[in-house]
Amino acid sequence: MPALVALMVVTLLPTIYLVIVSLTPLDLARPETHWDFSDPLGQYRTVLNDERLHNSFWVQAKLSFWSVALQVLLGFLFALLLNVNSRVLLALRTVFLIPMVLPPIVVAIIWKVLYTPDISPLHWATEAMGFVVPSLITDPDWALTAIIVADVWEWFPFVMLMVLASLQMMPSEYVEAAKVDGASVLQLTFYVTLPYLKGVLLVAALFRLVDSIKAFPLIYILTDGGPGTVTEVTNFYSFIQAFNFSYLGYSSAITVVLVIVTILLSWAIIRLVGWGQRVD
C-alpha cells in the first residue's frame, strides 16, 4: 500500500495536474486564465487546427523512424562484430559506449562544432578534398538528417550493449547445431541469431522510440527547430509554447496528446511484433 501511494504521488499526480491544466487556457502573463474552466476543450480544439503542430508530428515521425531504425541496425551489427573474445575488441566495446554516457548537452555541443563550417574539422577536411559541403544544420534538405546522425551516434551503443549482453547468454548449442547442418554465416544470422534476439531488439527499439520522442537537447542546441520548422518536433514545439510564450494551458494539451500517442504507438508495436516471444 505505501508503495502504491508513493507511486501515485510521484507519477500519477503530476500527470493528473497536467490534464487539469490542459483544460484551461493558462497563460502566465494573464492571471485571469488561471483555473478558468469555462471552455475545457478549447485547447484541444486548437490542437486540431494548429498546422504547425501537425507538421511537428510529421517531423517527429521521420526523426523517430530513421533514428530508431539506424540505431537498431548499427547496434545489432556492431554487437555481432564485437561478440568475439579478443582483448582489443573488449577495449573497443568501452570506447563505443562513450557517446551514450556523455551528457546530452555535451553531445549536442560536439555536433554543433562539427556542423559549424567556420570551426568544423569536417568542413575543413571536405574543403581540402575539393568539396564544398553546405552548413548542414541550416540547410532544409539536411537539417533533420544532421540531427538523426547525431542522435544515432549518441544512442546506437545502447542497442549494441543490450544485444551484446543477450548474445553473451545465447546457448552455443544453437550455433553449433546449425553449423553441423551446414548453415552459412548469413543463414546463422538470419535463422538463428536474429530470432533469438527478437525480444531484446524489440525492447531496445521501444526504449529508443520513447526516448526519440523526448529528443530535445540536440534540436535545441543545433537547429532551434529550424530552419523554419524543418526540425521542430512536437515536444520542442510544446516547450516553445510553454516557455517562450507562456501558454502553459496549450502546451499541456499538446503534451497530453503526445503522451496518448506514445502509449498507443508502443502498444501497437508490441501487439504487432509480439512481446519478447522466443523462437526456439
Binding site: 502566465l28 502573463a29 494573464r30 487546427n49 504547425r52 559549424t116 563550417p117 552548413s135 532544409p140 529550424g226
Partner: protein, 459 residues
C-alpha cells in the same frame, strides 16, 4: 603619421579626457565626500549578501565584469552575474518572473519583454528607491538618462521599473570597406545600392558580402518598413499583423536573398557574437545591427579589420530609413529578497563613473546618459577611422524616438509574434517558401496566437 605628432595627439587626448572625466565625476565625488561619514558608517553594509543577476550576453557585461570586484570590495556583497544567449535568458527570466520567485535579484529588462514584465507587475517600481535620499544621492541624477531610452522601462504612470545600460541604435558597418574601394563603390545608402554592393563584391577574397544574426524579428524590420510595410496596423492600439501585403513579401524576399546569396555559410544559425566574429575576422563584410556590436570591429585589440571598417546609416528603402532602436535596462524582480542590494548594484552599474570608464577604457558606445553623450569625450571616442559615429548614433536614437515606429516592439505579445517572423524569414532564406507565402502563413499563425492572448484582431 610620425611618432612625434602621434605622441602629441595622444597627450592632448589624455589631457582632455582627464579634464572631462574630472568635470563629469567631480560633482559625484564632491557629493560622496560630503556624505563620507554616513558612507563610512555603512561600510560593508551588504556583507554576506550574494546578489544573483542575469542578462543576455553583451559586450557591456564583458566590460562590467572587470569592475565588479571593486564593487564587491566597496559594498561587501558578492555578485553572481550570469549571462546567456538572448533567447535562453528571456525564456528563463520570463518563467522565473511569472512565478515571482526569489532566484534573481537583478535582471535585464529586455526591450521586447518590457511591456509584458512591467505590465504584469513582475518588475519592481524603482521610483521609491530613486526618491529615497538614504538610498540614492541627488547627484546620481535619474533625469540624466535620455528620454527615449527610458520609455520602454516606464509604466503607464511614467514610473521607472528599470534604468538602461544599453541604448541600441542600429547602424551599418562594412568590416572590409577596402573591398568596396577596390571596386570603386561607396557605402550603400539605399536597398538597391546594398544589393548591388553585395553582388559586386561577392567572391572577393572569400569574404561574404553580408552577415547577420538569427534574430530576424529585429534585423529584418528596417527592411520591412523601408519597403513600406509595418509589423502591426497601429501599435499598441491595434495589433493586427500586416504581413500578407506586397511590401512584406518584397521585404522578406529582399532580406532572404541577402542572407542566402551573400551571407557566410551557416549564417542562419549565427548568434550576435558569431556574426560579430565573422566581421572581426574579416570573413564577412556588411552588417546592419545595433552599434554595440559594431564598435568592437574598430576598438577590440583582436579585430583584424580595425583599419578597414567603415560605418554608415542603415540603408533606406523606397519608403525611407527605419533603423532599429531600443534600450535594455536593469530591473529588480518583485520576488527578490535583496532589493536594496540590487538597487545598489543598479545605481553603480549605470552610474556616471562606470559609464564613463566603459566609454574611456573600452569605447562602449551605447551610452544612455545625456551628460556623457553630450561630452567631447563621447564624440572623440566614437570617432572611428576618422568617422563621426557618435552623430550617427544620436541621429538613429532620435529618429526612432521622433516617429514612434519602434512601438511595435514593446507590446506584451511581441515575443510570440516575433517567433513567427523568425520562422518566416528562415523559410524564405532557405528557399522553402517565397516571401508572399511565408509571410501569409506567418500572418495566419500570428493572428491565431494573438487571439489566444485575448487580443482583438481586425476582420
Amino acid at each position: 603619421m610620425s611618432t612625434a605628432i602621434s605622441g602629441t595627439l595622444t597627450a592632448a587626448r589624455l589631457h582632455r579626457r582627464t579634464l572631462l572625466r574630472s568635470a563629469l565625476v567631480g560633482s559625484a565625488a564632491a557629493a560622496v565626500g560630503l556624505r563620507a561619514p554616513a558612507v563610512l558608517g555603512q561600510a560593508k553594509k551588504f556583507a554576506g549578501v550574494t546578489l544573483q543577476g542575469a542578462s543576455f550576453a553583451s559586450t557591456f557585461f564583458g566590460y562590467l565584469q572587470n569592475y565588479i570586484p571593486e564593487f564587491e570590495e566597496e559594498t561587501g556583497m558578492k555578485v553572481n552575474f550570469v549571462t546567456n544567449a538572448f533567447p535562453v535568458f528571456n525564456q528563463r527570466t520570463d518563467l522565473e518572473l511569472s512565478t515571482q520567485g526569489s532566484a534573481l535579484d537583478v535582471i535585464n529588462v529586455t526591450f521586447i519583454y518590457s511591456g509584458r514584465w512591467i505590465g504584469a507587475g513582475w518588475v519592481e517600481n524603482l521610483k521609491p528607491f530613486v526618491e529615497d535620499p538614504n538610498l540614492t544621492p541627488d547627484d546620481w541624477d535619474a533625469s540624466d538618462f535620455v528620454g527615449g531610452t527610458m520609455a520602454s522601462l516606464q509604466d503607464a504612470n511614467g514610473d521607472a521599473h528599470g534604468f538602461p545600460w544599453e541604448a541600441g541604435a542600429m547602424i551599418m558597418a562594412a568590416a572590409r570597406a577596402d573591398l568596396l574601394d577596390q571596386k570603386g563603390l561607396a557605402l550603400p545608402t539605399t536597398f538597391d545600392e546594398l544589393m548591388n554592393v553585395c553582388e559586386m563584391t561577392k567572391g572577393m577574397e572569400r569574404v561574404a558580402p553580408f552577415t547577420a544574426d538569427k534574430l530576424h524579428h529585429w534585423n529584418w524590420i528596417p527592411y520591412l518598413m523601408g519597403m513600406g510595410g509595418t509589423v502591426f496596423k497601429d501599435p499598441p492600439a491595434n495589433l493586427t499583423p500586416t504581413w500578407d501585403t506586397p511590401e512584406a513579401a518584397k521585404a522578406a524576399d529582399f532580406y532572404g536573398k541577402l542572407l542566402s546569396e551573400y551571407g557566410p555559410p551557416g549564417v542562419l544559425s549565427f548568434t550576435d557574437d558569431q556574426s560579430m566574429q565573422s566581421q572581426k575576422t574579416g570573413r564577412a563584410n556588411i552588417r546592419t545591427q545595433a552599434i554595440t556590436w559594431m564598435v568592437p570591429l574598430s576598438k577590440d585589440p583582436d579585430s583584424r579589420v580595425a583599419d578597414k571598417v567603415r560605418y554608415g546609416p542603415v540603408p533606406a528603402g523606397p519608403a525611407g530609413s527605419f533603423p532599429g532602436s531600443n534600450s535594455h535596462g536593469f530591473g529588480i524582480p518583485v520576488g527578490s529578497k535583496n532589493k536594496e542590494a540590487a538597487w545598489e548594484f543598479i545605481k553603480w552599474a549605470v552610474g556616471k563613473d562606470i559609464t564613463l570608464r566603459m566609454l574611456e577604457e573600452h569605447g562602449y558606445p551605447s551610452v544612455c546618459r545625456r551628460s556623457i553623450i553630450d561630452s567631447e569625450l563621447f564624440k572623440e571616442t566614437l570617432t572611428l577611422n576618422g568617422q563621426d559615429v557618435a552623430s550617427l548614433y544620436l541621429e538613429t536614437l532620435e529618429l526612432g524616438g521622433k516617429s514612434g515606429y519602434m512601438k511595435y516592439r514593446t507590446v506584451p505579445q511581441f515575443p510570440q509574434v516575433g517567433d513567427k517572423i523568425n520562422k518566416a524569414i528562415e523559410k524564405v532564406a532557405t528557399g522553402q517558401a517565397d516571401g508572399a507565402t511565408a509571410m501569409a502563413q506567418a500572418q495566419e499563425e500570428a493572428v491565431a496566437d494573438l487571439k489566444k492572448s485575448g487580443v482583438q484582431i481586425d476582420g
